[in-house]
Symmetry: D3
Subunit: 153 residues, 6 copies
């Protein structure tokens, strides 16, 4: 049972309603998932997480929406978050995931875990060729912080 009260629309503050409205409009739905209603128990927490989700998961970018959902779902499986697996399987299916692709995803997550543990167990060291060849130069202290502060005014 949730550790906090799930907020309903009719009892929500204006700032919470604004986020709920934005979620519903962005996702073209009139339903708000439990996680958002739980986060709404602390409005700044709701605003921060929704703000990040909208920036990273919703805004068009190099990776397509289904690929993003697959990566989110893979992590949720790896972390064993039941709620997240259910909500993001549901979301991924809206973006085209079907049972065959879900099975593929499950097997990739499984073999990656297997491969990770084999590598860790045998304590294998990275090959020289993997190194990106980007040695870090030490941090160069900038010269005129006083000037910088002035320029802000």
């Amino acid at each position: 049972m949730a550790q906090v009260k799930l907020v309903n629309y009719d009892e929500a503050s204006d700032e919470v309603r604004a986020v709920f409205d934005d979620i519903m409009q962005t996702r073209n739905t009139d339903y708000i998932n439990n996680i958002w209603r739980a986060l709404a128990s602390n409005p700044p927490m709701l605003e921060r997480f929704w703000g990040q989700m909208k920036e990273i998961m919703v805004k068009p970018s190099r990776l397509d929406p289904l690929t993003k959902e697959l990566i989110y779902l893979a992590v949720s499986i790896n972390n064993n978050c039941d709620y997240c697996i259910n909500s993001h399987s549901f979301a991924a299916r809206k973006h085209g995931l079907d049972d065959e692709m879900l099975a593929e995803l499950a097997e990739i997550v499984a073999i990656a875990n297997a491969g990770n543990r084999l590598t860790i167990a045998l304590q294998v060291e990275p090959d020289e060729r993997f190194k990106p060849g980007r040695p870090a130069k030490p941090w160069a202290v900038k010269k005129k912080p006083a000037a910088r502060k002035k320029s802000k005014k």
Copy 2:
């Protein structure tokens, strides 16, 4: 330092050479990564893991090769396997990953972890609508195991 000896081609048994050859041919390279040389310390372990990788990661399927590598990499980041992150970033770059996409992947893995922990901390229960509507019928014992055994002969 590796817990086992890394096998070189010229000292490898025939069965190990067969796998090394298959890896090089499949990947169109004449280099074998350290992980395969470490697995080769126990030939059946090498055969099994390469066999699974070829089936799941190499064989054409519904998900494209870059998406598969992104999922494998996401899991490796989540499990904090340095070797795996380096080798699969390297592999993913061959399939088209660039710095911008890597940053996107990193942020999705990060926000998925953040979302997973928020959900777990607040102990949010899955919404009714997520349920796939596939109640399991109890296992039906099959009728004629004797007949089945016969048909195998």
Copy 3:
């Protein structure tokens, strides 16, 4: 070796410099840690993570700064992130952490892990009395979405 180039101040774009300046001013230092220089390889990623850190870890709130750092450090130990353990031990020491408190923190993280595994191994079910007594009412669809959309114009 880092997967991306670590950005230096003199080669940084204006938007990256603005974040670097804000970090240095907020933390009263003229040094920027490697993690920020790596995130700067993708300016929006830098802005997003610093923005969140400033909101959650820096802005005065109910929990005092040392307690926040202890919680961040506990998670970093649990996730085995070497960089994060080193950088946040360093930060926590600035807020008052000493060797004795670090040993206490380490032992609490250790016994929490031990307790978690014992509980999971024995599959113990939560006591009735733990339940927060906050049953979730189903989501109430709000009445006038059309009106809401209008009010935004």
Copy 4:
């Protein structure tokens, strides 16, 4: 609730029935656990995982069957997989596990987690004497790939 349909024997395809038959014969039972019925929703996934399980967990090897089950169970506890803890406790009891040994296993998993976190928290570096003394020689490119390819025809 399962994300996929649990397959029953009477509705299974021939390839799925072959695996179900093999599981029942290998384990001397007429019952198929839910996990196999879920994997059967994608027959190659079922075949691959059962094939690996049979090779690694069932085939006689250096470690005895109970020890194998204890290791599998320890990992399942560590990963917090409820289904897996229940199914492999059940399996291990068939191989001789009793409540006293389960308590021992639970305490070893617990103290290993405690020890791991203490070591990680204090950032202790491995002793020189632990090093297996097996420095890796660089990969030797094999001489005649052309010849190899021919010999395959």
Copy 5:
């Protein structure tokens, strides 16, 4: 359902009753949580874990009781231990945790996970300045073990 029998006071052995009594007296309650009743199925396991908890979590020390509970709770969230999250949220509320602080804790755990994964994904190396400057001298074998053994008699 628990893997072991939950022990009740009236059926407990004297050694288990002694621990139950000590728990109730230490915590000023007449209720024993399920985890202790499950651990009591193996009395030495109960004694060991309670002994550790009393030493580390109950005995007055540098960190105050609420901070200790917050760290324990952060780890339990990170490990996704439902029982532990519920029991330690319950305990922390007795020490002053309220919904606002719980939201803060949840967000710190979330951002620490996000930060950990970003750092791991980008494979950032620790800054020189983090190093505690405590190089380990090699272990000095003590001179007179024979004498030591004698002095024990």
Copy 6:
């Protein structure tokens, strides 16, 4: 680099020397691993962890010493603790572990991780038959706490 100073025998306090002596005598060696020297930076931490290790890992019990080390090692691999993998592989080899058994262990840890993730991804529910049939009776408040307290005097 370690977060705390590694204690040497000749600079150790009497209570630390007593533990060092006990470790060396119990393990029949004159060498102390780095982890113990690091824990010695806080003597009660050293005493507590060594006390637990001696009770759980050293004292003869139902599981034999090699099996215990295999379980400890499996967890350390799963948690990706480099120091712990190296120190407990070293310890397990003293109890009979060889390269072939290490490969078996690695593959069991790997397939358990694979199986755990497949099960979690598909959200499979435990079979009825796994339930241990041990429903918990509610906690019975003991009758005479006053009498109990008296009897302690």
